[in-house]
């Protein structure tokens, strides 16, 4: 024992550091494995069972085949797909706003603070406000009346044909702050002498934007795209909950809301777990893109 003490001590130095590292990382690992990793595994298991939250019986693939024959699932997926139309607007408007802010007009700092302010507000609150906007006695109808169409009244949230559009417009509004922040940060890293040189060379504003600003922003646009799409798949719950409750009918039920409804309103935990897996796969695809973005930077 005493003979190999020096060697043991030398080893312990490196080993002790590794042990310390492992011990330091362990609480975080445990938390994430326990509350995120394990449930993913369970979701896979429970998707093959009939499950009400208390007892589960193995029924194999039949949950899956039933789920894929369920029109609700296809309606929800279709709603998610339709909402993708909002993405160009949720990126384009903030890009325009960021470019305007970047002109540094008088008071631009105050404008910047104002434009970002809704970012701090809960989507529950923004949903409540949006409901007021689209309501029969709401702001939208006041605007329509103001422009002379006194007898035109809309109630977008009240009809299956228009509710999803209203939800999409609200989503675009809620994303403006975050995406503007991303683009403005991108513009701040742009070397102003480049634009100056182009201007001296006689390039017009549009030309400078197309050939210098936009290419420089490409990474930021990619990041904003990923952030927006992930929000679209997993952050609409609050808006839907207060604005429409998924209705009328299933017209504003997206995947994430369908999971909630199937689990907590219908008590069908097995199917809800399966829907969760589908959502997981959808976001994983987008997530891989983001990881590559972050990875390519290091």
């Amino acid at each position: 024992m005493t003979t190999n003490a020096p060697r043991a001590r030398r080893l312990t130095l490196r080993r002790r550091r590794q042990l310390a590292g492992f011990a330091f990382a362990l609480p975080a690992i445990a938390l994430v494995v326990g509350f995120i990793g394990v449930p993913i595994g369970q979701a896979v298991y429970y998707s093959f069972t009939q499950w009400d939250g208390l007892t589960s019986t193995w029924i194999g693939w039949s949950t899956w085949s039933q789920a894929f024959h369920n029109t609700d699932l296809w309606t929800a997926l279709e709603n998610n797909a339709k909402l993708l139309i909002t993405v160009p607007f949720a990126l384009g408007l903030p890009l325009l706003i960021a470019v305007l802010l970047h002109q540094r007009v008088a008071g631009w700092r105050i404008f910047r603070s104002i434009y970002f302010l809704p970012t701090a507000i809960s989507w529950v609150v923004l949903g409540l406000v949006a409901e007021r906007f689209f309501a029969y006695q709401g702001t939208l109808n006041s605007i329509i009346h103001f422009f002379g169409f006194a007898h035109t009244n809309t109630n977008m949230l009240g009809y299956e044909s228009t509710a999803l559009t209203a939800l999409g417009i609200t989503f675009i509004f809620t994303m403006i702050g975050t995406n503007t922040i991303l683009f403005l940060t991108g513009l701040a890293t742009l070397d102003p002498t480049l634009e100056e040189a182009a201007r001296i060379d006689g390039a017009g504003r549009w030309r400078i934007f197309r050939s210098i600003t936009l290419p420089h922003l490409s990474r930021f646009i990619q990041l904003a795209f990923v952030v927006t799409v992930i929000a679209l798949f997993s952050a609409l719950f609050s808006l839907i909950f207060v604005m429409t409750g998924g209705g009328p009918g299933y017209s504003t039920t997206t995947m994430e809301f369908l999971i909630y409804q199937t689990g907590f309103n219908q008590g069908d935990f097995g199917t809800a777990a399966l829907y969760g897996l589908i959502l997981f796969v959808l976001t994983a695809i987008v997530g891989i893109v983001q990881l590559r973005l972050i990875g390519s930077n290091e």
């Binding site: 449930p39 993913i40 404008f111 507000i121 809960s122 997993s234 609050s238 959502l279 930077n297």
Partner: protein, 291 residues
């Protein structure tokens, strides 16, 4: 330098006084720009405008359109238990953030300075967990937390928030600590601080900006969240304010002016935090791409 094909024939610089007719046009352009910025500001402030003006009406005035009254504010506490809900939100937020920092800081230190076997792989898995939305694992999560009898108080929600926030904080701290020179840590450990001392005395003080970023982002996220509070806090008298508002709104029986007054109150803390710590928020949102 550029791919622009325009020949460099144009004489003096645009903004020199030598070209007199450009200056007024530019000035007009500036004014138009300013007007557009004002218009956008009006749109972005619309939610506040709605909340303020709607809350300053009684229910009758709201339905009929005109009028002004403090009634909704006066009766607010009898409809929405504002005080208790703010307290719940505060407890849940601060406890979750505390857990996130307590597990995130050492983990970031370990992944950047005290590498262990497979630590890179573990780190990557940790970062990918950032991408998992709660809805995807909602059912098993709910059943697990219920089975552990954690939905009675705040603990279940706190742990779920902490678990959802930890991957991002670990990512941010690890990236941040990579910028700290190894020699500094070495010297500290050799000087007898030990690993824990090095973390507490050397790393944490340097990490204050990163800690601020995590705190601000998580505060806003947790304060504004609905889903976790709705499902993982079962007692109605322990509800956070966002959940309280959403449930009242979904019930469709509460008067709109009172709901708007409550919304305004709920929005204040997150807005104040945002306005004070704007800088850190921006840093956190663009983490990993602007460096």
């Amino acid at each position: 330098m550029t791919t622009l094909a325009t020949p460099p024939d144009t004489a003096p610089l645009d903004d020199t006084p030598a070209v007199p007719d450009r200056a007024p046009r530019r000035k007009v352009g500036r004014w138009i720009l300013f007007a557009v910025m004002l218009a956008i500001a009006a749109v972005m402030l619309y939610p506040f405008w709605v909340m303020i003006f709607t809350s300053l009406k009684s229910e009758q005035q709201f339905l009929s359109g005109g009028g002004f009254s403090w009634l909704s504010w006066r009766d607010l506490t009898s409809v929405i238990p504002i005080g208790q809900e703010i307290l719940s939100s505060t407890i849940v937020c601060s406890a979750s953030i505390l857990v996130i920092l307590v597990v995130g800081l050492p983990a970031g230190f370990a992944f950047s300075k005290l590498r262990f076997r497979a630590s890179t792989a573990v780190f990557l898995i940790m970062v990918s967990a950032m991408m998992v939305p709660l809805q995807a694992i909602l059912m098993p999560e709910f059943v697990n937390v219920t089975r552990l009898h954690l939905t009675g108080g705040y603990l279940g929600a706190i742990l779920v928030y902490a678990a959802l926030g930890t991957p991002f904080s670990v990512f941010l701290f690890t990236t941040y600590f990579r910028g700290v020179p190894d020699e500094l840590i070495e010297a500290g450990i050799v000087d007898g601080l030990g690993y824990f001392g090095a973390l507490w005395r050397l790393v944490v003080p340097i990490a204050i900006p990163a800690i601020a970023t995590v705190t601000v982002l998580q505060f806003i996220q947790i304060w504004d969240d609905l889903l976790v509070g709705l499902l993982f806090i079962q007692n109605t008298n322990e509800r956070p304010i966002t959940v309280g508002l959403a449930v009242l709104a979904a019930g469709r029986t509460t008067s709109i002016p009172e709901l708007m007054a409550g919304s305004l109150i709920s929005a204040v803390p997150a807005m104040v935090v945002y306005l004070i710590f704007q800088r850190y928020l921006v840093k956190g949102l663009t983490m990993g791409i602007d460096r």
